[in-house]
Amino acid sequence: MTSYSNRGFFNPAYHDSETLEIDKRSSSKPHHANPYAGEDPYRNWGARTELTDQTPRYDAEQQRTAHRGGWQEESWRGGEGIPMGPVSTHQHDLHYSTFQIALDSQYDGSPSIPLPSSMSGNMTMRWRGLAMRRMFPNTDPAHVAFTEDAIRNQMENEEQDRVNELVAMSTRERIRAIRELPMSFEEKKHIRNQVQAFSRKPHHFTIFEGCSENVSLSMRRCGYSVRSTRQTLELWHGIMKEIGGKFGSSVLSYFVFLKWLLMFNIFSFLINFGFITIPLLVYNHTPNVPPNVNFRGLEILTGAGYFSYTVMYYGSYSNETLVGLVEYDMQLAYFFTIAVYMVLCGIALIFSMASSFKKNYTLADLASNSAWQLLCSWDFSVTNERAVKQRTNNLSVQLKESLSEKGQRELLTLSEKVMHFGVYLGSWLLSTGLAVGCGASIYYLCQYEQQRATDAASWSLLQEAETLLVPFVVSLVNLVIPLFYSLFNKFEHYSSQRRQIYALVLRNVILRMSILGVLCYYWMNVLPDNFSCWESMVGQSLYRLVIFDFFFLMLGSFFGEFLSNVIGTRLLPGLGVPEFDVARNVLELIYAQTLAWIGIYFSPLLPAIQILKFFILFYLKKVSLTQNCQPPRRSGRAAQMQTIFIFLLFFPFFVGALSMVAYTAWRLTPSEQCGPFRGLNNTFEVVGEWIDGLREIPGSEWAVWIYQHVIRSEIFYFLLTLFILVIIYIFWQVSQGRKELIVLLRQQIVNEGKDKNFLRDKLQNLQKSHPEKHPKQKKQKGLTKQRSDGHPSGGQSNSNAMVQALLARQQLEEEEEGRSIEGVPVPSDISTSSALIQAMMARQRAETHSEGLYQTPGEHVSSSSTAARQRVDGRERSTDEYGSSAIRTRVRAEAEDLDYLPASSIMMQAMDARQQAEEEERFQWVPAPPQNLAPSGSSALIQAMLARQQAQNEFDDGY
């Protein structure tokens, strides 16, 4: 019995439930942070059970030294024999009680011993100590000692808990978990040392384990140094910091995006250059330029002429197998490099898109506006004085606006609604019409250009200059039409700024897609019939587009930012200094990147141009930003915009480029006279030929088989598609279910909160109305008063019910030390806490009892209902933290698409506990229960019985 109650005392569920919010966090947070712990509550709870079992193995002295001496390894000796598997819960009983007593006597006269780890822990120990002291302000020193002792033990348990959990993890996970512990560095280091000492200990004997330990250590160091070097190589750290400091993170996100694209291009350049260009240059490093073509300078703009005979374009790659040190098949290299690059790009995009969605769109809730503005909107990275001032101004203006908006929600009349609708319709029609018109005009322009151009080896200067017309017009359209769109936007009345931005972005996307679509159609369908080396011609057009896009980006920042700054400050001060338009600029980047993606097949070295372009653009935009712009007035929700942009980059643009390249490779006949694929019907035939070649090599039949039966079979793709569709459907259903569940669980949190408040008020009222019954009761009363009268700073808001439970529990322990009921198997930790509540309940009932409420049957019902309520209250209190944290875990798990079974098992546990409590409650009402009830019942029940008995004893004493 004793052992059982001790277990109860050390039960984290019980402690976490009430002692302190922060404690609960510090102990339960890592469970969220590490996937294993969060997934399997049973395992954790099991671990806790084990740990409480282990504690008695140390003697008190050892524990103290262990604490003071910072957990020398000796202190672990006691724990060496700890089996890691599930431990039977029978082992602990008697040791434990002696241990308890020993400690009690040791600390008896010294109530205010400095708590050893409080010097390092500003969250856990100190808080807990305060909380506990606050709970027992009037108790005698023995009690205080008891409390401190209990605190200490619990601390130790928690710590051991954590250490054991960490030891069980892999090194990498362990480090992550340690990093994410919400405590100070000193404490983390302490835990880390413990974990290291512990994990090294058992592996002492085998050399192999020692080696692997060393290897993992050196791997880790190596990883750190790689990270360090990467940081050294990181571009623009200082500039980024400066921009973030002056303009906040929403503007910074543009630069982050730009840098990300730059990295993308560097990667693709390295791949293309390494696998396609270098082998060719090694084999044959002189470009075979016809004698009448020479470098004239205009090529830098047009990409035609001399350039078309260099490795810049598709046309000058050979179709031979290069024989140097090894045989190098250019055809295969070209095909697979491009294919692999596209696939890698797609994967990178999908991953960053998915993670961005997960981070930014889960549970994103637009309703809580002022809460968000107050607590989440402040940008801690802003360090510039002017920017800070501006931000505070903007924020107060926005708050005032939101208040006044709230005051008078404008109700639109029908005519106003019709007018708004008309404006929407008009501007949508107009903008779509503009996009289509631009597409059509560009198509005709292309046709016109194609009529003028000839398929000659060298063009006259004029002919070459004429090719610049199309890219010029395209870039001009891209620059000017968005300005019109912004203008339309001013006339429309959108209810939220976000919708306005979305509409603007959508129109711009439509425009760019229509232009690119027309150009692609022209390249795919018209050029191949008219030019002998049409791939190079496409490459040239793309080159020109990229170059002109760059010029117009510069012009755009000149007009968009510099001119409007000049106008805003000198000519029309009403306009003010312009803001940096993140949406427009990011769209420009996306467009530029799309050009590079389309061009990758036709001009493998286009990424080099792109790198140069982005590099210059970064500095240009930075200068333009710091010279001309002011920080954005509205601190929009930048993270979501960023997600949208990554999505846009992926969906119409990357997918479009990919399908264009894929169409070229599958369907179009490569030109006969140039390029690596000359003589083939389509590019993909390379693979077929390669497989045919493989047939002759013995041992490669499987590759041939895979090619014929998997890659070339329609049925495979058909089945695959079906399979994926089924999976998508299932996941969609699951996510729908989870959505509903989230709503329900949230509702449950709200309800529980309400219940809790209601019951707490009831309980307090009840206690206030019957102040003096027992000496103990008085003490509680004093406590209650102190709590309710007192200070918000002490507002631990420990419920009285809890205090009562504690006292009842303590009393139980004191009284029952002599009793010789041996430990009974414990079903679960929850039962402990429910037993506690049971005890508290019994106490409560004793009170009502003594008040004489429990005499007639009718009153029986009423009192039982009050008591039941209190009981529910108590139950809720103790299960609340687990229950609601379970719910929260649940909600989060739902949100982040984790496996939800474990979370629901927490719920299940909570539910079980509830049910159990209720069952026990029913039992409780059996008058005068036999004390020697069969041990087959749960020990919780027995304890409840004992509590009841004790309550009756008290009742007897009282009268």
Partner: protein, 187 residues
């Protein structure tokens, strides 16, 4: 590199790298910054863990914190004594939590501490009022402040106790994706 090695031993640097989100280089950079704050107080040699703390007044003068309306609260939340005296380890802690790689949960815990002025583990109305006044430089009238705070509590309070517990706060944070990028100080 030679003289850099003497600031910390390899074991210390390993411990820092295991327990914070920083690399060796960043730790050294942080030490440099810490040293800069009070060159005569902070030793260059940290191999034997000198006991040295800098007061709040010195730390809030860092350019990263100088303009931040919550600067003293940030420093206080990370100081062990609650008064804002930071040892180097606490200094590292502070920037580790505020670094880019720190997870949302960790950031939320400390953000809650920062906003919890009276350290009662709840964001009550007074806390919110103080926060709001710092954010707006007291430009709102008391009534407006009152209204905004009420609205905030109304929006974020799940369990209806008229103050925001950590759970409420965390719940709100998970719905505000920007928090991760805004609760971030580059060092």
């Amino acid at each position: 590199m030679g003289n850099k090695q003497t600031i910390f031993t390899d074991e210390q640097l390993d411990a820092y790298q295991d327990c914070t989100f920083f690399t060796r280089k960043e730790i050294l950079r942080l030490h440099g910054r810490y040293h800069e704050l009070a060159p005569h107080l902070v030793p260059m040699d940290y191999t034997n863990d000198p006991d040295c703390k800098l007061p709040l007044a010195l730390i809030v003068n860092m350019p990263e914190l100088k303009e931040n309306p919550f600067r003293s609260r940030i420093v206080e939340s990370f100081s062990e004594d609650g008064m804002g005296n930071l040892s180097f380890n606490e200094f590292v802690d502070m920037f580790s939590v505020l670094s880019e790689t720190a997870p949302r949960e960790l950031k939320a815990i400390y953000a809650f501490k920062i906003y919890d002025y009276n350290v009662d583990n709840y964001l009550c109305k007074e806390d919110l009022e103080k926060t709001l006044n710092k954010l707006t430089k007291e430009e709102l009238t008391p009534e407006e402040v009152e209204l905004v705070c009420e609205k905030t509590i109304e929006e974020a309070d799940l369990d209806g106790d008229n103050k925001l517990s950590y759970a409420d706060f965390e719940n709100m944070i998970t719905r505000a994706p920007d928090f991760l990028s805004t609760f971030h100080i580059r060092i």
